[in-house]
């Protein structure tokens, strides 16, 4: 399996039994040559059974709920050991359009190590309410400076990484709140990886709902700022650095 398919699509899923079948179908249709790995993040519903029954996806079944960061590091480790050249993260809630995956992979072909599918880069009509939007703008500004490229959507989970990115993220991918998005970018930038973004349209969540009250937005801003400051002040682990040098 691993020889032919050099792209692994990683789908972290936590209690997404309703939206997962549609997402897997879309991925199989848009990326027939890629292998698909569903990482079941300790779901209490039938997510694992749905993934097993899909026939197109492999299932990495975590015994505990580790959060997106934990699920993704497990996925990256699988990709690294399986010898995949590239890995794409697609969320199981259906808001990422697998049809955009080739555009992310094209960025990798152009020399990027990490490609982000960004919501606010002109495509689509995704809008966040102002307190959250403000927080996201602040994060984008800071991370754009750190990574040396213009980033508009740093909390997007729609990402592709090449081999160098895989090596860094398999060694170190934070499981903390916002660690999988914001801090992961800081780690990538400090490890010398090239980060690029491409505008994508985000779809409505296929099932479930995201919460956006002003109080939650304020909490989000506080935690995001804290996560960013800590990520920046953290000494780099040597493993991540060696991963790039190797």
């Amino acid at each position: 399996m691993g020889e032919r398919a050099s792209v692994l699509v990683i789908v972290p899923a936590w209690n997404e039994q309703d939206s997962l079948p549609g997402v897997l179908e879309d991925i199989a249709r848009c990326m027939p040559e890629a292998d698909v790995l569903v990482v079941n993040d300790g779901s209490t519903d039938r997510t694992a059974a749905v993934a097993r029954g899909s026939g197109t996806a492999m299932l990495l079944d975590l015994p505990l709920n580790l959060g997106v960061g934990g699920a993704m590091r497990a996925g990256y480790r699988f990709a690294l050991r399986g010898g995949y050249a590239r890995a794409v993260q697609v969320d199981a809630d259906g808001q990422h359009d697998p049809g955009d995956i080739p555009r992310l992979l094209a960025l990798l072909d152009d020399g990027a190590d990490v490609a982000i599918g960004a919501r606010f880069a002109g495509e689509g009509d995704y809008r966040a309410r102002w307190p959250r939007r403000w927080a996201m703008t602040l994060l984008s500004g800071a991370l754009s400076r750190i990574s040396g490229t213009r980033l508009t959507d740093t909390t997007s989970g729609f990402r592709a990484v090449g081999r160098r990115g895989l090596e860094v993220f398999a060694a170190e991918y934070p499981a903390e709140y916002l660690g999988d998005t914001v801090e992961a970018l800081v780690i990538a930038a400090r490890a010398g990886l090239t980060i690029r973004q491409v505008g994508v349209a985000m779809r409505e969540r296929a099932a479930g709902s995201a919460s956006h009250s002003p109080v939650q937005a304020a909490i989000f801003l506080g935690r995001a700022t804290l996560a960013l400051l800590i990520a920046l002040s953290r000494p780099m682990r040597s493993r991540a650095r060696e991963g790039v040098a190797a």
Binding site: M58, D61, L62, F78, A175
Partner: protein
């Protein structure tokens, strides 16, 4: 019974309890050390209360009892921080183990599938290498 002997009795009981926990391996040495140190200090202070008065004068604290309170708060704070650090370490270890278990489970499942394929199909269909 005077307060003096009550204090000494409590301290000795604390030390014995910690030694008991250590002996039954319910407390690891790296956590027990700070508690044993605290218990020994309490024993010494219980036996020689004048020590605190002297210490308070040296430290510039007017009421000796306040020196004790401040010191005990500091010790508790340090213990809490140590425990937070240990819990974080444990969480990271749990996370790594959970990831490894999931990866191994997938490996086993795929190996079983391959073995079943090899048993069921004979001929060229079964030679679908990794």
């Amino acid at each position: 019974m005077t307060g003096y002997w009550f204090a000494v009795g409590c301290s000795v009981a604390l030390v014995l309890f910690l030694v008991f926990l250590l002996r039954t391996r319910r407390l690891r040495e790296k956590y027990a050390f700070i508690w044993i140190a605290v218990a020994v200090v309490i024993c010494v202070i219980g036996a020689f209360p004048d020590l605190v008065v002297t210490l308070a004068r040296v430290a510039g604290v007017q009421t000796p009892a306040n020196l004790l309170f401040a010191a005990s708060l500091l010790v508790l704070l340090l213990v809490c921080i140590q425990l937070s650090v240990e819990v974080s370490t444990l969480e990271e270890e749990t996370r790594t183990l959970a990831e490894e278990i999931a990866l191994l489970r997938l490996d086993v499942e795929r190996a079983q599938l391959r073995a079943a394929d090899d048993d069921g199909a004979t001929g060229p269909a079964a030679t679908d290498g990794p």
